[in-house]
Amino acid sequence: MNNNFETVIGLEVHAELNTKTKIFCSCENRFGAEVNSLCCPVCMGYPGTLPVLNQQVVESAVKMGHALNCTINGVTKQDRKNYFYPDLPKAYQISQFDVPLCENGYLDILVGDETKRIGVTRIHIEEDAGKLIHDDSFDGTLCDYNRCGVPLIEIVSEPDLRSAEEAKAYLETITTILLYLGISDAKMQEGSVRCDVNVSVRPHGATEFGTRCEMKNVNSFGAVYRAILYEAERQMEVIAAGGTIRQETRRWDDAKNKSILMRSKEDAQDYRYFPDPDLLTFIVSDEKISALKASLPELPTEKTLRYVKDYNMQKVDAQLLSVSKARADFFDSAVELGGCEPKTVANWLLGDIARILNDRRIELSDTALTPQHLVEMIQMIDKGTISNTAAKTVLEEMMATDKAPQQIVEEKGLAQINDSSALVAIVEKVLADNPKAVEDYKSGKTNVAGFLVGQCMKASRGQGNPATLRDMVLAAIEKL
């Protein structure tokens, strides 16, 4: 990477909204249905049909506008964007041109230890296009129009991003917010979030932007990162070799890890936007705009910063908690119940619980675990009723059944033995079975004490109190 240059990045993010119906007709909005089974004359663009705008699309877009601190244009309209391609049966896409529903916002993102503010130029509503199937066993291209009319919001950022890391953090924050608001499934792998990346480079300290290239088909967080690194490097090489960058659209091929020229500025699309005569001006009332603002949940970046400030958490842990709304909500409920350290709750959620969920490829909501039970279990550890080792068994059981930890401990006989008289026999047996370790300890290798305590814990089936056992082991060796 050439250090004399700075990379300048802007992202256009398209997110499909998870409304029940499409944007302009009452066909169901669902992914994965049989081809052309969710279509009507409106989605197919038959002559004489009239689009009718879905109220929920407007509300979802306004919510996103609030989340990204935008001005909401309560009086707005829709425009036709003309292009000729078989994925679009009308030969125009209904979008918004000069008066987007939301504009002039920003998003604060966390990159390493820094908080960076990224400008959001606009958010507008539009319809998605259909899906083309290219298959050599057919003489032509097949068109599936189920996706025609699926509602989209397009979120356009200012060219404020300066590295692939920042772009990735921005995109991750956007998708997390979509999930927090519950307005999109936000799955890049299913194409419900798609991204066009604009990249230019300029010498450090330059005040004007370099010529930018747009990359299409960037379909995962990793691809965004790789595409930016590749494109910045390509542009720097062109400039270093004395060339100039031409404005062009390039297609990102993630498998080959390179971008390919699609079209240069000379044959740039001429979209001939004009107001859609089938759709009138529409109004979102001030009351509605305020009500939608009031309905927003606490957003991920705010949550992260609150956890760091209020609970003295590491930023990386706070971020891991807030990146999943389900996990953050669970954490907040547990902390609200009180009676244990928030950091301990976080450690369980990010440690053993995350590991179990990950191993089984399930979500927190797929388990029987409740914040109440987790807090009770932590309290039992704090009081010395159960050991950390036994707690892991309790946790597994709490995730599988809705039994309270108290009941599990009783049923499985997991209560910790703090009474040293009950542990004497165990300690004696462990020392007798491990004469070599005892010798080693006596000759100064004191770290074998950990091994001996471990053996005692094992022999007590996790029920011994490790601190008590340690004291007992050391005392017993002294007496030998």
Binding site: N36, C40, K77, G140, T141, L142, I283
Partner: protein, 89 residues
């Protein structure tokens, strides 16, 4: 007013013989000149019409059309899809 007839023809997917370009340009120029006499729009707001707004639709699912019905008007179909001449991305 200069009219690029070739560019417009390309966007409209029309084949216009070279010999007719001059005539077309003249005709289109006079049409544009006529349209330009319309009163000028003063701002972008004037394209909005807040006195004449539309009602939005509640988000309620209604059955889609049967696929066979939808595809009746389609010249060529295959595997439940419309088939068009091969296009490359």
């Amino acid at each position: 007013m200069e009219i690029d007839v070739k560019h417009i023809a390309k966007l409209a997917k029309l084949d216009i013989p070279e010999a007719e370009l001059g005539k077309m340009e003249k005709e289109l120029s006079s049409i544009v000149a006529m349209v330009e006499k319309l009163p000028e729009l003063t701002s972008k707001e004037s394209l909005l019409d807040p006195q004449n707004t539309m009602q939005l639709r509640p988000d309620e699912v209604k059955p889609s059309f049967p696929r066979e019905e939808m595809l009746k008007n389609v010249p060529e179909t295959a595997a439940g899809c419309l088939m068009v001449p091969k296009v490359v991305e």
